[in-house]
Symmetry: C3
């Protein structure tokens, strides 16, 4: 490890105009300069400008199963309370975990009740946020103005999303419209959690995403993933023979499951005013039923399916959340930036709500656990190397096109947010468009 | 816990004029904005301007019982040496724990000797501070200028006070004049230490004081304290029936101990040039003899008392030190700011110097230990919540009037210190004045 | 320990012109003001301007014994790879441990191979630095520009030196010319490592050097070193009788080993454009054969010597590296600044490469281990004391003249580097010149 882990700032801190200058000198299709991965001033800009525009997956609906249940969760650098306030499917609200009296943390942990009660002076709040107890207030104070601070919150298809700032967030309804069907077909709305794990990664959140969005590293870094997943034949190498092999395998799978199933997909690249999302299906490959070590099933079939078809559905849920649905279990991914050099990567595994109570959680979590442990290590090594004064941006290869597209999008958006003007449009990356125009080829193009 | 504990600064650091602007927009009787509880730049201003004006309780005189004994103690962010240099009662001096040769820490721990000897190059200093060893000095250097750096120091009534800067500190003599009698009557001058404990609290020092100065939180947060102390009938709730109960109890107590004893009290609100102090007595209540779990005595009577009267004497000793004297033991409180987000809270328990050697230290420390452990938790939760971007100042209720007064005083003083002018006077808080004008009511008004 | 270990910055950060103002007000022959020992802004200036001009001892040649062997080492705040790329004695190169693809750390630990392979996407590099694997690159990218980033590297006399910046480093050849003979005569070129230890010292690197360059502290702080080393008679005290004793002892030793041997020495004070170095010999004293607890030998004689002569050769290797050669073992010293308040002090012990495999490493490392453990403690106490607001620079005594000279040199160099002009020349310290003009006296003048 490097002796100096902490970022040693320049004599002069980077300000907004300096950041714009930095953005403008980044070379398309090359990795970013060190400051973007390490400088707390740039992280502060992201925190103030970019994060408030991102919807984040914060929970599965089964975590607040009935009225009065509340949970304490992380939303970027904030702790929030997600509460089911009524009996309707959509009766979920979220609040900052902050008392409006003198600011105490309100809920220490998950719980249930008719009121949320502050541990400091016992102010109590209704599940719908209003201040309940008013007897101690000075007469001059309006209790109506002392309700809990709301967090924008939206549930669909079994998933619960929150965002920091109602005035900055894009409309999430098109994503709900685009993905709810697919989420239900994969059983997300009738699932329960069997495992959750946080892989705290000592690296900037963009390095975590850069890693997640390409499979070029899958051969050297992920022997298990490389063995199990057929798509690495075209996502991890550029090898004409293997590409033909994979093409044949896809066509065979296609002929079995039929076009209808295979074509299911949706895609929105996203920009400052639009929440990006995507959904697509591909075979795992080699006749495997699910993403397990043996290829054999590890839980009950989900989504009303009656037989294994060996497919995996991948979901992009905004910029920082993802889901992978095999036939019998689902993995949720949350990337939560902590600071310029640390990111929480939280994985949650779900099975059908009626699956056996003694399903083997280790078998279910095996694929993504072993892979994420490896990703944590290589991403931290990446972050370490970037701290060197010798680090220079390097070229993304064709196998890293999604990573490159993410970086370009990020730069363009941050620039617009700093300058308050819509800057030069990001040249639209063509691969994702092809993803669903020509699904047989495009399904190869992503790890997810 | 919040993932991000460290304060994430704004892009532009707060400077002095910005701080004045912030001070001026604080709303009277509402809690402060986040920056006052978290910003290192504001803490740096406090450290440079406000702390040097505060006398701090640093030791009990029994810790330096005879000539040559010295102790190493904390004074704000400084380590100091308190030494008894002579046989007179007042022969106590204090020095910064810094050698005048190349700056080494001088004393690693408490000790005794005729000289203070530096562990680095063995320069030695007299107990009165002068450099003793001079043989190695260059001829051009004046050894008289190389004595230890003095720390202003004053002892009275068994307590030892120090402050950082002689030119900024207010006169402490009026406090000595006002409190020495009361301290002696409670036996402080003939006491010995039986326990000491540091409750490192991860919260700004003002949050620690805000907590200490109100009992509104006593019912939800301190079940033991609430059970033992009668005054919570009026300090923890606003309940007419309980107020009458308490009034009756006070009058009964009053009729037993007599006016002379009860009226003992002194009060000085303090301002930039005056050290605040206070002393008052009240009954513990419910016929309890002392502040113990059972109400029964836990050590010998102090201050020459011949029988329990069930009272507690409360002392304010400047802004950051306090004492509570029950009939048979005394508790000292030191609040020591470490940085913008950490405060040492040190409690020291004393008994009569002739008390049995096997007094039960756990029984003696029970009340304030259990209470301070709880206060540490709720104050840290308060600090956590305030770090949220959703935090907004909230209204102090009538039961938090002393807290509100402290905050107002602090703002006014910091403003004056930054601008170099005496700003708008803090509107004098009326309750403390009544404290001794109408003792029967006023004794209800404070936790201490 | 002080409660506040972290440096509490001033409201206004120190910039370059402020640093020049600070430099100009430092008093010659007095220790530096606090900022030089604690301020991260001044450390950042040193990191940007002063460190890149320093050659640093990074390894012994035996650590890369044959072609393909590589080691991962620390060079200031950088991790570097030192690799033997060919069969020639000088075929050693060094690279920043950073992949030129996306910046991953390249080598996790020491190893051997024909290529250096990145763990992330398996890019491979030749031992001579060029990118080997090119098949995945976009066509527009020139693979010749993606070789590893070189670190200036030079080996001589068994030692390997590196520096951060080829354009800033002084010529090291005069040092190789001046010291290779002496290093060989002491067997450095035919040695192997028996022990290595890192004494992480929580103090600014200049405090570590100030400590290392004087023996005034040897009597109070190093009882073992004081007992074993005769030179303390004149380096640790100013005592006429002891000086005569030592003079007699030197003359006796001199008459045995002969003038030729004794006069071996070289000295270059160094300045911005010249790498400082020195070599001299002196007797250990009291008839001791080597620097061991008993004075008896602890390993085989080195450098082709046939009998113990009881001498110690001291080497200065630039500003931050040193070596001490007794007749039968060698100690290397590396001082590596980590940040404004932490310094790695790495000691390496070597013996003749043909010495017994079961030499007693504890006996060999005893003298400098016990001494360095003590130095770590007193230097950390020095750093602690300097953090006080009461700290003021103090006078260096005549026994600290080398320390004072180092401080003067440092100030002068930093000033020149900031202003870009050659400032007032440091008044040449006269003692080191005498070191070799009058060796019998001068050998007394240094601890090393
Ligand atoms: S801070 Fe919540 S009730 Fe006071
Ligand atoms: S630093 Fe105290 S004697 Fe040198
Ligand atoms: S970062 Fe080294 S191969 Fe990609």
């Amino acid at each position: 490890m490097f002796a100096v882990q902490a970022y040693t700032p320049n004599s002069q801190p980077i300000d907004r105009s300096e950041t714009v200058r930095l953005i403008d000198r980044q070379r398309p299709d090359w990795s970013l300069e060190q400051a973007f991965y390490a400088d707390p001033a740039i992280f502060a800009l992201e925190r103030d400008l970019w994060f408030p525009r991102q919807w984040m997956l914060v929970a599965h609906a089964s975590e607040v199963p009935e009225k009065g249940r509340y949970i304490v969760r992380q939303l970027f650098d904030e702790e929030i309370i997600v509460v089911r306030f009524g009996d309707g499917e959509d009766d979920i609200a979220a609040y900052y975990n902050v008392c409006t009296h003198r600011g105490s943390r309100l809920c220490a942990k998950d719980g249930r009740g008719k009121l949320l009660v502050c541990p400091y002076h016992a102010w109590s709040f209704r599940l719908t946020g209003e201040l309940q107890s008013r007897q101690d207030l000075p007469a001059s104070v309006d209790p109506e103005a002392l309700g809990l601070h709301r967090v924008p919150c939206k549930g669909f298809g079994g998933l619960v999303f929150c965002g920091l700032d109602a005035s900055s967030l894009p409309d999430i309804q098109p994503v709900a419209d685009g993905l709810t069907g697919g989420l239900r077909e994969n059983g997300l709305d009738r699932a329960r959690i069997v495992a959750r794990k946080n892989y705290l990664t000592k690296a900037n959140w963009k390095l975590v995403l850069e890693n997640f969005l390409e499979c070029y590293h899958c051969r050297p870094a992920h022997p298990e993933y490389y063995r199990v997943n057929g798509h690495v034949k075209v996502t991890a190498t550029r090898d004409a023979d293997k590409a033909v092999e994979w093409q044949n395998e896809i066509e065979a799978w296609h002929s079995v499951i039929g076009d209808a199933e295979f074509h299911k997909g949706a895609w929105q690249a996203g920009d400052l005013d639009t929440m990006p999302f995507a959904m697509h299906r591909k075979p795992i490959g080699s006749g495997r039923n699910t993403l397990s070590n043996t290829g054999e099933g590890v839980s009950s079939l989900m989504g009303g399916r009656h037989a294994y078809d060996g497919g995996e559905s991948g979901f992009r849920l905004g910029r920082l959340s993802f889901a992978s649905a095999a036939n019998d279990y689902v993995t949720l991914f949350q990337m939560i930036p902590r600071n310029a050099m640390e990111t929480d990567v939280i994985l949650t595994w779900l099975v059908d709500k009626d699956a056996d109570n003694d399903v083997d959680a280790d078998a279910i979590s095996w694929m993504w656990d072993v892979t994420t442990v490896q990703d944590k290590k290589i991403t931290e090594d990446n972050a370490d190397g970037i701290m060197s004064r010798a680090y220079r941006p390097g070229p993304y290869t064709p196998l890293e096109s999604q990573t490159s597209f993410f970086v370009q999008t990020y730069l363009s958006e941050l620039r617009s947010l700093i300058t308050g003007t819509r800057g030069a449009t990001v040249s639209q990356w063509s691969a994702p468009k092809e993803l669903f125009a020509s699904p047989k080829a495009a399904s190869c193009n992503t790890r997810l």
